[in-house]
Symmetry: C2
Subunit: 159 residues, 2 copies
């Protein structure tokens, strides 16, 4: 156990700015979604993941792994989403332990309704305040952090 490598004054300043900004930003986005569309941010992410999947269907575990969500959290969340009719569960025929989550039409509509407001918020609060160069830098920095977290995905699900 070696000595603690404390932060320099400069580092501390950057750290606080970063954590405050990141936190404030996600908070703002979550609040906007909840207010305008009545869904928490994590649920929005689930709907997005499903909407991009073939057949709008994913295994529970894939859905959980897609973003760092625990199985438990996902299970609760999907239960809730099923209640409001945005998602349906379907058991896997080949492996009777498994479950699929399927995005319903109603869920797709809800997502379509929520997306513009969300995207607008992201644009205004993030991209509009950064220069193109900074956007690029932020991409690099984010990927570096992800590597450091052992996140195996500098994924580019966009094409």
């Amino acid at each position: 156990m070696s000595e603690t490598r404390w932060l320099t004054a400069c580092e501390q300043e950057v750290w606080r700015a970063f954590i405050t900004a990141a936190d404030g930003l996600t908070d703002q986005l979550a609040r906007q979604l909840q207010r305008d569309s009545g869904m928490p941010y994590t649920y929005y992410e689930i709907l997005v993941a499903l909407s991009e999947a073939p057949e709008r269907t994913l295994r529970m575990s894939e859905l959980a792994g897609a973003r760092g969500s625990s199985r438990s959290r996902l299970s609760h969340a999907v239960a809730r989403l099923e209640e409001v009719g945005w998602v349906r569960r379907r058991t896997c025929p080949t492996d009777k332990r498994g479950s699929f989550a399927v995005l319903t039409d109603k869920g797709y509509s809800a997502l379509e309704a929520a997306a513009p407001g969300h995207v607008t918020e992201v644009r205004e609060k993030l991209f509009d305040v950064l220069t193109p160069q900074q956007v690029e830098q932020l991409g690099e920095i984010s990927r570096a952090i992800l590597r450091g977290l052992g996140a195996p995905t500098p994924h580019c699900p966009v094409e």
Copy 2:
């Protein structure tokens, strides 16, 4: 109501990388704190804020405002911190509505015990994976975001 300005593929990639990284990082930090020190991240922040205040004392509202916490949240949190003996409430003599939160010695010790592990995590997961130049860039970017959020504080509480 104008049309939605959607994200380009490139922006979308940056956005996902950023949100995943920021989220993963805070998640990791919160987890480390909870595991090693038995306190949620927000409570840690409260203790830090109090420890830096004169007399280790702050008005509830100042404490809430210091980071973007709601009055309600803070009230619940301080109630919990009082239970474990890390903070004490004291009523304000000049304004009988007001309350002070005071960090106890026990609370200060808990903070001292928690800090090294937390700082180590921040260093390893953030500063160790970035170049000095990237750290500087991240500072700029964070401040830009904060300005965009209307956060009045590009504050430098370090000195």
